[in-house]
């Protein structure tokens, strides 16, 4: 991602890799992985949502972590290159966070017959989404430039620090979100493959969004 010159294309060749991986992930989740069986012996097909839900959540956390690291770099080095990474990653993080929330909600309807529960992990993810949505609003309303980069970096840093606190403060109620219990080997393969595919897609998107940011910078 070292292209400092004005980018010509939006997506690099890695988007093809991401596309193939995502289609294989679809197969892994729907065909390769065996049906989950409930304690009473009935198949629980809705568990297949997990193969897209968990990777979405993973990529969301990864993306927000990248934004945090890039923001620290902006504050330390005053580098606009890192600011482009932070902006790009935050936006993609919101996309994947939204996907994790929506797929989780559908899973919740199937498993708990509830669209939403104020469980610590759900609540924290929701707040995480709100923090980064505020980040994007802040970036939109600040004329882009060095000052916008500083403001964004400050907000992303404070926001990232507050997330673990949110988790602690809402954890007082008992959680109902499933923990990663022992999965069958084939299920684990499928899940790990999907996580890999989503991560490749994240980097393909990150690079494209980064190039868009560089292009916008070059125009100014």
């Amino acid at each position: 991602m070292k292209d400092d010159i004005v980018p010509r294309r939006c997506f690099g060749p890695e988007i093809w890799l991401a596309g193939v991986a995502m289609h294989l992930a679809l197969l892994a989740g729907l065909k390769y992985a065996p049906s989950a069986i409930s304690a009473s012996g009935e198949p629980m097909e809705f568990q297949r949502i997990m193969y897209f839900h968990v990777p979405s959540a993973w990529v969301a956390f990864l993306a927000f972590f990248v934004t945090f690291v890039a923001s620290i770099a902006v504050l330390v080095k005053r580098s606009m290159w890192w600011d482009s990474i932070a902006t790009a990653s935050a936006e993609i993080g919101i996309l994947f966070c939204t996907m994790a929330l929506i797929s989780g909600s559908i899973w919740g309807k199937a498993a708990w017959n509830l669209w939403w529960a104020w469980d610590p992990r759900l609540t924290t993810t929701f707040i995480l989404w709100l923090v980064y949505a505020s980040y994007v609003i802040l970036r939109m309303s600040t004329p882009s430039g060095e000052r916008s980069a500083r403001f964004g970096a400050v907000y992303a840093t404070i926001g990232f620090v507050s997330v673990p606190l949110t988790y602690v403060s809402v954890k007082l109620g008992a959680g109902m979100h499933p923990k990663s219990a022992g999965l069958e080997p084939k299920m684990l393969h499928a899940l790990l493959f999907c996580i890999g595919a989503f991560t490749v897609l994240y980097f393909a998107f990150l690079r494209a969004r980064f190039r868009l940011e560089q292009l916008r910078r070059a125009i100014q």
């Binding site: 923090v131 309303s141 600040t142 403001f151 400050v154 403060s169």
Partner: protein, 230 residues
Amino acid sequence: MRWLSAVLCLAAKDVRHELRTREALASMAVFSLLTIVLFHFGFSDLGQEATVFAPGALWVTFTFASMIGLARSFSVEEINGCLRGLLLCPHDRSVIFAGKMLGSIASVGAVSTVALVLFVVLFNLPIFSMLWLVWIVMLLGVVGVTAVGTVFSAMTIGTRMRQTLLPVLVLPIILPLVVFGMQTTAKIINSATTGSAPVAEIAGGIVGMLLFDVILTTAGIMTFEHVVVE
């Protein structure tokens, strides 16, 4: 100490300014009163027990009222280029942060205290014996909210949306503190009405809020200098 006297000087300037104009104090106080009226019609008029909704209502009132005060904290400095003058002072940036934060604590704390008393009177909350404890919990909340709010207030005067943006930025960040404050207040009110005293739980809540205040204030001091660089 030079640092402390500079901080106190700046805070005293803000307090004096506020006492002369009374702009923020008046709007915060009237806003709190209006919220109390709305909570009456929204909850107690519909048959809700005041002791049940009081913790939430109190914190909602004081959180949103403090937004008004914090929004003014730096917008007053913008007029006549006062902020530039402040930045030219031969002091560390942390002086401006601490002074501004202290000034906001004074005005927001004063209004919150009045709002708390009005709340207790207007909703007939039977918590007079525990009022001081609720007040302490609320002040702990004020410290955290103003720490975050001071940084973002300085930030929002540099954005297109100006102060409209402040609550959007501040509220997600202070959420853990507000949640903790509500829970602790609920426990205190509950113990005042039932007579039981879960001392350990209340003390734990207060310690937790203190911890949040320390973290948020540290984060504020560390990041503030990056906000006001000109």
